[in-house]
């Protein structure tokens, strides 16, 4: 076959979402790629200019459908930076539990979507089965199944419900056992290894220069993590280590990105177990919503000319919100809300990583970067 352009998407099993990857193939070899985004661009930044600070949380939930809690928390930290709010420590612990459970659910969703990418459907069903456990726990916290609207400016919406700690310990420990089944299914399968190893190399410095962070960067052998380098929550008080993958000499490949996410799921599960033990006043005491122990008083208007921003470790990299306070003229609304989406920067880099590999490697490479189009298109 001569060289030809193939437009993968917008409706394509490879794109976990709605975007188009135009690839130029020579036979089965990819010689050029070009991503085309914006199929679900919703103008969230514009809509948020007409909402006040508490209403924007719902839109931040709906930014990334795979990990809603991390995005709303990322926004809430930026708002607290803007409004100079001091958060009670118990609320921080509850936030940490919610965020880490959401991280596990997001990585499970990724693992489940990565199975069909390389041709195994049973992994998807199993991972979604485990994801249901995490979503049950988050549902107890937020009250909803996917979009929780959990954090509030200065605290959280609700305290841990009765018996949450016991159920969380039970399900997380069960999940820690289930991880080994997946590793048995993936790591002990020679076909999986030859499909993922030596495919889609990416170097650490190159990734940083391209703006790629998060698990994709840690798969390159660097333990850079916003949770430790710019500590923003009670992460510094927990005993945990950033999981780092030892990549191959030529760089991190799909197998490294798979391994780092599995390890992150373990670390997050252990962090949840530890936070349930270390949470002040114990995990079984329940405070009514609005109690000063879980939520602090916060102003509803931002003064003129102030700005707030915060780097946050999302499930897919470093997410960030930049808020410009509108002052009295704009009422309770921010003047400008700007969103830093990790996948918006990562997808072009992932498309560059594909050049030179086979067409069959495209799902393996693109899936290993864990694209989430909801946050990409905003």
């Amino acid at each position: 076959m001569a060289e030809m352009w193939i437009s993968m998407g917008p409706q394509h099993p490879m794109t976990h979402g709605l975007w188009t990857l135009k690839i130029k193939v020579d036979g089965e070899t990819v010689v050029d790629t070009e991503p085309d985004l914006g199929y679900i661009h919703r103008g969230v930044e514009k809509i948020c200019e007409a909402r006040d600070f508490t209403q924007i949380t719902t839109y931040c939930d709906r930014l990334c459908y795979a990990s809603a809690n991390t995005w709303s928390h990322s926004y809430i930290y930026a708002v607290e930076d803007l409004l100079e709010v001091e958060v009670p420590e118990r609320a921080e612990y509850i936030r940490l539990i919610a965020v880490e459970l959401q991280r596990i659910a997001s990585h499970l969703m990724w693992l489940g979507a990565y199975g069909p990418d390389i041709g195994n459907l049973s992994v998807m069903v199993w991972c979604l089965r485990e994801r249901e456990m995490m979503m049950d726990l988050l549902q107890e916290l937020g009250g909803s199944r996917m979009h929780y609207n959990f954090p509030r400016v200065g605290g959280v919406k609700r305290d841990l419900p009765h018996g949450f700690a016991q159920r969380a310990r039970a399900k997380v420990s069960l999940f820690l056992n289930r991880i080994q089944e997946y590793e048995a299914l993936f790591d002990e399968s020679t076909i999986f290894l030859i499909r993922t190893q030596g495919v889609g190399y990416s170097k650490a410095e190159e990734m940083v220069n391209h703006g790629v962070t998060g698990p994709n960067l840690r798969a390159g052998g660097v333990n850079y993590d916003v949770r430790t380098s710019h500590p923003y929550s009670v992460y510094s008080e927990l005993d945990w280590e950033v999981p780092v993958e030892r990549p191959s000499v030529k760089g991190a490949d799909c197998y490294d990105r798979y391994r780092i996410r599995v390890e992150e799921m373990r670390v997050s599960a252990m962090m949840v177990l530890e936070a349930l033990d270390k949470i002040p006043r114990g995990a079984d005491t329940y405070h009514e919503p609005g109690d000063p122990a879980i939520i602090a008083k916060a102003p509803s208007r931002a003064p003129e000319g102030t700005s707030g921003s915060h780097h946050f470790e999302d499930s897919r990299g470093e997410s960030m919100f930049y808020l410009a306070g509108g002052g009295e003229a704009r009422g309770k609304n921010p003047y400008r809300v700007s969103i830093r989406s990790p996948m918006f920067i990562t997808i072009p880099y992932a498309s560059k990583c594909m050049v030179g590999y086979k067409v069959a490697d495209i799902p393996a490479i693109m899936g290993s970067f864990d694209p989430c189009i909801g946050e990409t298109d905003r």
């Binding site: 917008p10 409706q11 679900i40 069903v125 979604l128 089965r129 979009h147």
Partner: protein
């Protein structure tokens, strides 16, 4: 009539054909064989259509994850004959699970036109029904029914997988009334429902 060279023979092939045709048509009308075949085969096709609904494997936004969860272990949508296919040529149901931006309006119309009849469309979630939380946006259409006809609306942001399964059940209830006889208990089916009549 007189000597213009025409042959006025008693035997006229056209007349024979017309006579035979009339006789056969009368026989068909009298025996109503068309009704028999139409009704019996129609019920069989109706059963098969409502028992195997293949949705298009199209994930737009949040509801796509609930769609995936509906296919997973806990909510097992495959029990009810819902198998996801990736090619619109082989699908019956277009499951729109997210907002339709201006950039995606043309592709989804093309997807809808690529699907062979009989086909149905399910609008899942607020975004697909009315634009949802983004109804004010500059880039979002107010619901998918502005570009393609929708059979079933499933509200929720996002709807739970049970709601999705129930939406497929509602679609089956709609399909079973196609060609149903007038006097069934269903209120809005006083007349036989024809496909494409809605």
């Amino acid at each position: 009539m007189d000597g213009d060279g025409q042959n006025y023979s008693v035997f006229n092939s056209r007349m024979l054909v017309d006579t035979v045709g009339d006789i056969t048509d009368d026989a068909l009308k009298a025996s109503r064989i068309k009704d028999v075949i139409g009704v019996l085969v129609g019920r069989v096709f109706n059963w098969s259509q409502r028992k195997s609904l293949f949705p298009l494997h199209l994930g737009i936004k949040c509801c796509a994850l609930e769609m995936a969860a509906a296919g997973a272990s806990r909510f097992d949508a495959e029990r009810f004959g819902v198998f996801f296919r990736s090619s619109p040529r082989q699908c019956d149901v277009l499951l729109v699970n997210g907002p339709i931006s201006k950039k995606f309006a043309d592709p989804i119309v093309r997807l809808w036109e690529q699907m062979p009849e009989p086909k149905w469309c399910i609008a899942m979630g607020e975004c697909a029904i009315s634009g949802g939380p983004y109804f004010q946006s500059y880039n979002i259409l107010e619901g998918v029914d502005t570009v393609i006809p929708v059979d079933v609306y499933i509200p929720g942001c996002p709807p739970r997988p049970e709601a999705l399964i129930d939406g497929f059940d509602k679609l089956r209830q709609k399909i079973i009334r196609i060609g149903a006889s007038p006097d069934d208990g269903a209120p809005e089916s006083k007349n036989p429902i024809i496909v494409g009549d809605d």
